[in-house]
Homo-oligomer: 336 residues x 2
């Protein structure tokens, strides 16, 4: 397997992506390669200190970089030789089997769609993130690829994310909830009401109905579908809130019971590790003809290494083959 | 001041609303009255044990009740004599100065709009909830009144919620953030992009730009505006997440450091009290010609009592007068 990493994209220095690639060595099988795409001189400078990196790492030069805050489509048009554009095109041309980026998410999604196209039958790609909770993992899809959704898109997110969590988390028949503002069928906006009609009649999905924000933490469902705007707000709120609650608890104890502050710090670190994007590595873009793993912008070497793990599992579990097969069955049913 | 309470609506037994009304006595000035609207026999049975309740409580009979899960507009049409419908009509007719309900939120919002109409110049009412955070209170508007927003609605939420937090929390020139999925102007869905254009050119609003979910907890802004669907998801996610993080921390420590579990429980209770809807009492419906305070469905006596406090402060601070005055200035500007 050949896995490309966009060495340029991300909030952290390039060294983190290079060190992540080096750390991924233990995940690779004989013959597997990690290809670092970006400024060759810089990459080689960071590789120089490592031992025998040539055995599993290759460097592919790219002389342009898409910035984290550039407007995606404009940036891709202006920079056809950017590391992001090259890494997706290399996958299209069969030089890579998967690609990973911690760069501009919108630009990565756009580049992936342009270069790789969508899986047969898939309407819109969606990013599926697996959130650890006390009651087990919950996949949320979409968390930012598609902010102008139609009901059919949410329906397909349910199908694709069910296959993903079944394969990756081993959940037998994942329970799917539709994120809304009340459990009753009449609740929600037009998008949610339209998606509900599709979801509740599908034999391919174990649909449990509308769920609410609080259900993420209550073990109600294994997959939660929503449009990319709502999903992205949810994702970033969770990130901020874990911090906020813990900060608040430390504040409460610091004065009154300082002897317990260390224990809280310990528990807080354990919790934050679970919510740490570096731990889960990256989120797949479901629905594209290829393997694209999106890392959090602030991913460090651990995050990049774990994204390599996600890419390998994605390929091993044949997620795309299973999605294509299910979508074609769906098509046959709706044609019949 | 005469404050009506819908005695029938809510997840908890009627007794909680009656006990809340009794507990509100200490908040009332000479001549103030709380009017409990609902099943007279039941209400009087719970009042019977209290001393001299007649001095500040009145009972107004209503023989119909809107259920928590009924479809709002249908329920109001079928039950014109429901406690919810009556309490809002009494305010329209000048028999009450404010009304409070922990019942069906959608039905309360619809009843308020029908009976009281909107403030002059206000397009759509929005529910503004004040969330306590480590860095101070943050008002989020709308959290569920209006799930199909237009940019102009978000713009007015910013105006109205700024006035509200200025008056209630004493924040001088509240910083307003537009909830989106990235700080850059190009990020977000069509609604957010449209609202941004209105917000950034308004001299009446101290607009700081797009904010993200995590900013709720980072002291970035004092007011956050969003459509009612997104706001409601955020609200319920926060509710569930405080629980989830604390449950997770207790889980981490139970085995390894049981001696600290009690301290964590103590800190957790202190935090949960801050996120407790019973503590903040209720959220005003901004933009209606009257005072409508919406309580969480699970509000207990404390929540109901604190909603009375919110209603009194709302009147004292002349929020509606200030909103009307600002909206008419805006109108004059746009006419000029």
């Amino acid at each position: 397997m050949r896995i490309g990493i966009d060495a340029m994209g991300g909030d952290r220095p390039l060294a983190e992506r290079v060190l992540g690639a080096l750390a991924a060595r233990e995940l690779l099988s004989e013959g597997d390669r990690v290809v670092l795409v970006g400024d060759e001189d810089q990459i080689r400078r960071h590789l120089a200190e490592a031992e025998s990196w040539e055995r599993f790492i290759e460097v592919h030069h790219a002389d342009q970089t898409v910035g984290m805050h550039e407007v995606p489509v404009e940036a891709l048009r202006a920079k056809p030789r950017s590391s992001l554009a090259i890494v997706t095109r290399m996958q299209r041309d069969g030089e890579l089997d998967a690609c990973i980026s911690a760069g501009n998410t919108g630009a990565f999604v756009a580049a992936a769609q342009m270069a790789l196209r969508r899986l047969r039958g898939a309407h819109r790609p969606g990013i599926a993130i697996v959130t650890p909770t006390y009651h087990g993992p919950v996949a949320i899809c979409d968390v930012g690829a598609n902010v102008n959704c139609r009901p059919q898109h949410l329906y397909q997110y349910a199908l694709m994310a069910s296959i993903y969590v079944n394969a990756i988390c081993g959940i037998e028949r994942p329970r799917v909830g539709l994120l809304s503002i009340g459990e009753e069928e009449g609740k929600g906006n037009e998008l949610v009401k339209g998606a509900l009609d599709l979801l509740k009649t599908s034999p391919a999905i174990r649909f449990i109905g509308n769920v609410e924000g609080r259900d993420v933490f209550r073990g109600t469902c294994d997959v939660m579908v929503c449009d990319g705007f709502v999903g992205n707000v949810v994702l970033k709120l969770m990130e901020g809130m874990a911090e906020g609650v813990i900060q608040g608890m430390l504040g409460e104890l610091k004065e009154s019971m300082p002897e317990h502050v260390e224990a809280i710090r310990y528990a807080a670190e354990a919790i934050m590790a679970k919510y740490d994007f570096n731990e889960y590595g990256g989120a797949p873009l479901l629905g594209v003809r290829g393997i694209c793993i999106i890392c959090h912008g602030a991913s460090d070497r651990r995050g990049v290494k774990n994204a390599v793990r996600v890419a390998i599992e994605f390929a091993k579990c044949q997620i795309n083959e299973r999605i294509t097969s299910l979508l074609s069955q769906e098509q046959r049913v709706s044609d019949a």
